[in-house]
């Protein structure tokens, strides 16, 4: 595929902490980690999903001004950023694995309309749904 979405980013308060979470706890792999002074372009990929990178970006000067950076960190910490969805084959199994690694779940696996979903947050406050589609018993 030559066209499509390649990178979509999240705002995170601390990129080291985000890296530890997405790679260490969720099992993503680092795609690019490039620094230029204080700026750090950091993207990760879900194993096997090579066409898409999730950016873990810090709202920082000079990309945004200091006050805006503060506001964005607040907005993320309040859980007000848009939904993220991670599709998995076995929601309950992945839930147990992630929980054992210390992922903060906001909702246990719940079956509805033939799907199973669970909810978790990253350390900054970004909220994820973990979705297992159409395998409910």
């Amino acid at each position: 595929m030559t066209e499509g979405v390649q990178v979509a980013g999240l705002y995170v308060r601390d990129q080291d902490e985000a890296l530890e979470f997405y790679v260490g706890k969720l099992g993503f792999e680092v795609h690019t980690d490039a620094r230029n002074g204080d700026y750090r372009w950091l993207t990760v990929q879900y194993p096997g999903q090579s066409g898409f990178q999730l950016g873990l970006f810090k709202p920082q000067v000079p990309i945004v001004d200091e006050a805006t950076s503060q506001t964005l960190n607040e907005v993320v910490a309040k859980g007000a950023m848009p939904p993220l969805v991670l599709v998995v084959e076995d929601c309950r199994k992945t839930y147990e694995q992630m929980r054992a690694r210390g992922v903060e779940f906001t909702q246990e696996p719940t079956e509805r309309y033939g799907n199973i979903d669970a909810g978790f947050r990253d350390p900054s406050g970004n909220g994820w749904k973990m979705l297992q589609a159409g395998h409910a018993t």
Binding site: Q70, V76, A77, K78, G79, T106, Y113, D117
Partner: protein, 166 residues
Amino acid sequence: MNAAMSHPIRKDPLMLRRLLRAKDRMDGAPDEQWPISRLGRISGISEAHFARAFREAFGIPPHRYLLTRRVERAKALLRDTDHSITEIAFAVGWNSLGTFTRTFRDVTGQSPSQLRQSQQALVHAFEHVPHCFVSAAHRPDLKIAVSEKRRIETRGTNATEAKEVS
């Protein structure tokens, strides 16, 4: 006007993140009892400061927020199950059918049975949107206390006041 009002405080994202944790916990189990002491412990914020900090962060007092979640869950159960209204009242955290029915009507403008009839008649237009996001979008927008809403709607009558359920 004090300094905090004239100059918005820069809020510590780490503290907001801890407040979010308390909000998430209410979201996860709105049927449970959530005294401020419990919420404060989850957030690591003193009981004396929690309610104000929560309101400043999320624009709504914690117990009113809880009420919106209970009503939201009740609406979903009315729509998606055949459970009796009494069963639903208890399942979402009320301990009296009368209080549930009254609060529900005050918040949504419909009685539980009216809402059940109208919701079940709706075509399910959101089948490709994950359910949790649909219900969040339909969450009751409770800008004032239920007791206040009731007072406005019954002004001039002799309606008795009911304390907001916490």
